[in-house]
């Protein structure tokens, strides 16, 4: 039997690991798939190739399918998120000069105090901050708007958000085009290594459970290729489960380091995979088991409420109708396909497909098929709770 080929696009980031593992560790092969991975030069190129059919599937920023379905940005197309590929994993960093100004204001340093650090950041910038994010529609942008917005900063007057592709973030810092960034690993650590950035906060300190990347396909493709959709989801979900083991993550670092993927030394990739970040020359940030999830806490489950949160934020910023946008956004995330295609493989299924986003301050047991699913924490730093059904 010849394998079914699926062309899948990715951007060189630590969180493309489930796709790389699905291919390299044989999970795709077990499903009779030849998973061809294509490195893309930019998020817009990845999106266009997916929209126009040059790619069947893609490693996508979680807000992009929602934005595309809402008609925002180029090439409006109905894109579905089959499952979540990763949760959390971003870092916020500032230039050494800005870090020094923050210290001059009394910032004690550290990597985990969003309110305090945010306050010193605002004080040190004179209410004018140029900050780089990888794409206008990204969790990075959403987290920054949420974090600094809650602390009183207003976009775009005080918060000048610029788009810089992840591999070029360190360069933009070195060139002095931006003062700060929010980016996925290993590109924050790369800025640290080059001496042009100091990490001040993990994304997870702003929102403890933020859906970061999704496995995206065209809605029409999923409709027309139900069998292939199922095989792809099973291969990637098994890869995500494999990545839950810390021993395996080390091996994943070796795979990601290869030239065809990240083309970087494995030790810089391991920092994010193992939750052991270095914030500035030699300063170890301590261990975190919440820095980046692929599988634990039902990370792969595409909650409709996550899509609703994204849609509500995009609608607010672009002036679209909130209720209609939330409805369109919710339809992009496909827990229905997740439940059907992953049934019987030992993936626990939550009782509901929506949750109150931000309501869990601690890990809690919730209703599920097996009866022992643990979710959370998923709190926002400022105590926001998002109810997807609130009008």
């Amino acid at each position: 039997m010849s394998a079914l080929t699926i062309n899948c696009g990715f951007i060189p980031l630590v969180d493309c690991a489930p796709l790389v593992v699905a291919r390299e560790m044989g999970f795709a092969q077990e499903e009779g798939l030849a998973l061809d991975l294509h490195k893309q030069p930019s998020w817009s190129a990845l999106r266009d190739h997916l929209a126009l059919g040059a790619l069947d599937a893609a490693h996508m920023l979680s807000p992009v399918p929602v934005a595309m379905s809402l008609g925002l940005g180029g090439l409006p197309t109905r894109i579905d998120a089959l499952m979540v590929l990763s949760v959390n994993g971003n870092v916020v960093g500032v230039s050494p000069e800005l870090a020094q100004r923050m210290r001059d204001e009394g910032w004690p340093g550290g990597f985990g105090d969003p309110s305090g650090t945010g306050g010193y950041l605002i004080a040190a910038t004179g209410r004018r901050l140029r900050v780089g994010v990888p794409f206008p529609f990204s969790m990075h942008a959403e987290l920054l708007y949420h974090w600094l917005g809650a602390l009183g900063m207003r976009a775009p007057d005080e918060l000048d958000v610029r788009t810089v592709p992840p591999p070029l973030m360190a360069e933009a810092m070195a060139e002095g085009e931006i003062d700060a960034f929010c980016v996925g690993e290993p590109w924050g650590s790369t800025a640290v290594e080059r001496g042009v950035g100091e990490l001040i906060l993990p994304g997870a300190a702003i929102w403890a459970f933020a859906p970061e990347k999704v496995l995206a396909v065209r809605h029409d493709w999923a409709e027309a290729h139900d069998e292939a959709t199922g095989r792809l989801m099973r291969a990637v979900a098994r890869a995500a489960r494999w990545l839950a083991e810390w021993d395996n993550r080390m091996m994943a670092g070796e795979l990601l380091a290869r030239r065809e993927y990240l083309d970087l030394p494995p030790d810089i990739i391991d920092r994010a995979l193992m939750g052991r970040l270095i914030t500035t020359g030699g300063a170890f940030a301590g261990e975190s088991d919440n820095f980046l999830h692929f599988y634990r806490k039902a990370a792969t489950f595409p909650w409709r409420s996550q899509a609703a949160w994204i849609a509500a934020n995009l609608a607010k910023r672009t002036g679209l109708d909130r209720v209609a946008s939330i409805e369109t956004g919710r339809a992009c995330f496909r827990p229905d396909l997740y439940r059907r295609h992953l049934d019987g493989l030992g993936f626990d299924m939550p009782g509901a497909s929506d949750k109150l986003e931000g309501s869990l301050n601690h890990a809690e047991a919730v209703a599920s098929a097996s009866g022992n699913m643990i979710l959370g924490p998923d709190a926002f730093f400022d105590g926001t709770v998002f109810d997807p059904h609130a009008r």
Binding site: W43, A45, D48, G73, G74, P136, T163, P167
Partner: protein, 194 residues
């Protein structure tokens, strides 16, 4: 009479941008600006305020143009990608040529089509010239390596040029490798043994 379309080309490679400018000049009366430095693209674009922006799809700086598609201020004009979304063939041709185009919303398709047709043709031509040049370069450097390998064999084993070549070919066939690969291996080994 409408004023000529303002077109901005974001391209660092001077040869390539010149080709595209020439192609556009043949296609009609346009006001063309080339942005060679990608670092300040967004600021320059807001100064020029073009109707159409052309950029190589593989250019990683493309993402910085994406924010143009969201008009955040009253003075900014929303920008859509590609002309007419119903014209899938034109969009596909552009993508295949590796060209992305950003077009101000509301511009008539008949004004855009000649621009894109000309740009796509030039993009294709330049890409083809590049791959041909690359092929010539590779062939040349392979021939040099094979010549060096032949010389080494002639010297070490007292062979004639034809015999040295035949020996290389036989080794390549036996190992299922390309002649150039076997020659390269020999040259590398000889350099190491020096």
């Amino acid at each position: 009479m409408t004023s000529p379309l303002k077109i901005a080309i974001v391209e660092e490679d001077v040869d390539r941008s010149r080709q595209i400018v020439d192609g556009l000049r043949d296609a009609g009366d346009f006001e063309v600006t080339v942005l060679g430095e990608t670092s300040s693209v967004t600021r320059r674009l807001s100064e020029i305020d073009p109707d159409v922006v052309l950029i190589d799809m593989a250019n990683p700086n493309r993402d910085s143009l994406e924010s143009l598609s969201l008009a955040s201020g009253a003075r900014e004009r929303p920008v859509a990608m590609f002309v007419d979304r119903s014209d899938k063939d034109l969009t596909r041709a552009a993508i295949e040529a590796g060209l992305s185009a950003y077009v101000v919303d509301g511009l008539k398709p008949e004004r855009i089509k000649p621009v894109l047709d000309a740009a796509i043709a030039r993009f294709n031509m330049v890409s083809q010239m590049r791959s041909e040049l690359e092929a010539v370069r590779t062939a040349l450097s392979e021939r040099k390596t094979i010549d060096r390998a032949k010389g080494l064999l002639m010297q070490a084993r007292g062979l004639s040029e034809d015999d040295a070549y035949a020996l290389l070919r036989k080794a390549a066939m036996d190992q299922g490798k390309k002649l150039a690969e076997v020659a390269q291996a020999l040259v590398t080994a000889a350099d190491l043994l020096k």
